[in-house]
Subunit: 129 residues, 2 copies
């Protein structure tokens, strides 16, 4: 394989993972934070579709593979110490979160309480129920 500076610069943690951040490429909204290993990072680069490593299921996770709500990669950035990647993506289907919210960060902290954003792209009971 030819040299790839991104793969050379990424510092995977002791579990072989790197933090992968998905951000809406138009609005700048943070959609989710998940993890990639070297294999799923390479798949992401090749297919241009966000492909994570599921720590809970210990398997390759092509985000939106079954629902069609894939995340198309528009831009990739790496941080100064190489242990985090930022992907600017086009979120197909409008929502990154299984709850139907656009972002997984849909709970806001306010006066020691968590307040959930009211807006949702879909009703998970209808989609998954």
């Amino acid at each position: 394989m030819d040299r790839n500076e991104l793969l050379e610069q990424v510092k995977f943690d002791p579990d072989g993972l790197v933090a992968a951040l998905a951000q809406d490429h138009e609005t700048g909204e943070i959609l989710m934070l998940a993890w990639m290993n070297r294999d799923t990072l390479q798949r992401t680069l090749e297919k241009n579709v966000m492909t994570y490593w599921s720590r809970s299921r210990q398997e390759i996770w092509v985000k939106g593979q079954s629902s069609g709500h894939i995340q198309e990669v528009m831009e990739i950035r790496i941080d100064c110490d190489g242990d985090a990647l930022l992907f600017k993506v086009k979120q197909h289907g409008g929502a990154a979160c299984h709850t139907g919210h656009k972002s997984c960060f849909h709970r806001r902290y306010e006066h020691a309480r968590l307040v959930t954003d009211s807006e949702r792209v879909f009703d998970p009971d209808e989609v998954y129920g």
Copy 2:
């Protein structure tokens, strides 16, 4: 201490850490990704200033304490599975990164190469040299 739903909902990893993401509260630009433990998260909530746990130095890290380039917390969000926190911050001094760039994610991936953003807020050689 009174109930605090955020502290109750955070799922710290086996090392007692949670990913903490700092985003410019006005522009939406991602500034950096670092880590907090329970203690530094509580300090962040109390002081309203981003306080990380430095994994490399194994110590409390009040971002900008010596330089004055602190990160003032404007909004806090938690993701759906509780293992990542998003902080919308006001970056004092204009730059989050020790390189003088506003964001630690100042290297963009392009055709197997990494391209560094030209714009910098300060010259680190002048500040730290």
